[in-house]
Symmetry: D2
Subunit: 180 residues, 4 copies
């Protein structure tokens, strides 16, 4: 019998208490039910420095982050779309990953938007993941009009999106096992 797969969430909003953090929670809850171990990087509790900032190369949070990513078999990236692409927080988080943490691992991508649907952020993240030699599952999630996307108790209001979230999570879980 093999080890359970471990899936790590990385959030493009600074605070996990956000729509992007919430989308990661929902996906990881599905994956956990299927048998995965799940972890999330809490950037607010342990802020990553900017690449190039004084002291960044030996920063304790960078070490912690890389060590967590080393231990993961798969990743969920969820970013707001700012100005037609992923946030600076998401890009800086990805800048701290390298081939050692990502080659051959599996990624699922999520984007939230204040207004109408678009996939530019997903397309750009897909390019980045390819660059670090990861796999991206074909399923992807877009949450448009994000301020009205959830009920007061955090449920997704759009039943089609709910269904797609389950398919997304299942694909991430199953294909990580196939590709590991």
């Amino acid at each position: 019998m093999t080890d359970p797969i471990r899936i790590m969430g990385i959030c493009g909003s600074y605070d996990l208490d956000s729509a992007n953090g919430h989308m990661i929670d929902l996906v990881l809850a599905e994956c956990k039910e299927m048998g995965a171990e799940v972890i999330v990087w809490d950037n607010k509790a342990n802020p990553l420095p900017f690449v190039g900032e004084d002291g960044c190369w030996d920063h304790d949070n960078v070490k912690l982050y890389k060590s967590m990513a080393d231990s993961a078999d798969a990743f969920v990236l969820s970013s707001p779309e700012y100005h037609g692409t992923m946030s600076g927080v998401m890009k800086n988080s990805l800048d701290w990953l390298s081939f050692d943490q990502t080659t051959g691992k599996v990624f699922g991508l999520i984007s939230t938007l204040g207004g109408q649907s678009n996939t530019t952020t997903l397309n750009h993240m897909r390019t980045v993941v390819r660059w670090i030699h990861g796999w991206v599952i074909p399923e992807q999630l877009v949450v448009s009009n994000v301020k009205n996307a959830f009920s007061d108790d955090g449920k997704i209001l759009d039943s089609n999106l709910s269904k797609r979230l389950v398919e997304f999570s299942t694909s991430l879980f199953n294909n990580t096992q196939k590709l590991r």
Copy 2:
């Protein structure tokens, strides 16, 4: 007689003492000679916070940055390519701009790479600038193998790139006047 145009440099490396900071200097020196006023955001001296960080919305450096951008007619963006797109530093800097600072203004784009040439970073920055309703000049600069791109006294070694830098600067200067 009209006011001289003002061009602002934004650097995707944290420190202006870098290849990207140097490329901005070279372009702005050309533009200054043609009659432009030139300014550069020094992110190391006045670090921008991450969008979403505690205290970010009223941060003095954000106000200073937006005020500088308000005063500019055109921008030069120079970013390293990290993992197939612009750096987190560049994206976070762009996240702090909005339509007020950028609509109808003119942008020139530069990308540096450690290895061989590619234009993905330029393509992604072009998408972002469109999103904030700016114009991007057709000319763009790629500096590949960036560690070997300059002489000890900071001159560009590739004479073709030198020539393109002059054309780039001239286009930025002339077309900002036309489109202002």
Copy 3:
């Protein structure tokens, strides 16, 4: 007094009797009212061969097309989104243009979609136009749910899109004059 500007439409649907052909007509009608000369490539009447097809290099329709493009100061490109990017018809039409026909000229971009809004086709066309050294105006038009976009007599039903079409046409007309 200078010559009127001439604007050429290129359609990504094979037949001008289509939503994309119709969007071109609407834009060109606006531009004509402002004083532009307007022309449209009718690909159904004069089909362009595929690049590489036997006899393509000396094909009469290619000569006619290039000659029409030579005479234009600006272009309107309107393409359906097929599989996340412009149609093969649009790409083959662009393949037949070269720097001679396009350098320094101004382009406006339109995309139609069967389903919900997206800008990937516009982003990809923007990359192509940059490659052939054209300018792309920041304004762009997306027609989602295209089958329900027009009234029986061909009017745009979404008043916001109608308004944007006028702004798009005005920008194309005015900025072609500035950049010519």
Copy 4:
């Protein structure tokens, strides 16, 4: 024992007697040696019509093409870069595929360029394949300065590219088996 996997080549040059056709041959030869069945669409012998052309919807070549694609487990796409993206021939070939032929199947991507290396064509094809719900392997091949890429007897001159072609083919073969 399971059936051997079947891999289909689709060429973005009109004629298979081209650098792109040759790259497909080299990859398929590797895959055949590993045990795959290999097939190639010969667009010159059986030209696909443009989408929208008179008679296209019932065209015999379209039926033949879709039937061949139906039978494939994986695809190799090789396109020249024309004006910063895939050729019209490649895009029109992809336009004729739909979810039925591609969902869950595996794709490997190749781009050839007349000049220096770039990955824009690969990035755009990656977006298209995602749209039709395919998987794209992380490995990809770029052939720059394509006129000088091969010896008189068709061997790849750049030993690094040769090595990458073997890795690419191996990944395509192995991962198609895992993901089938």
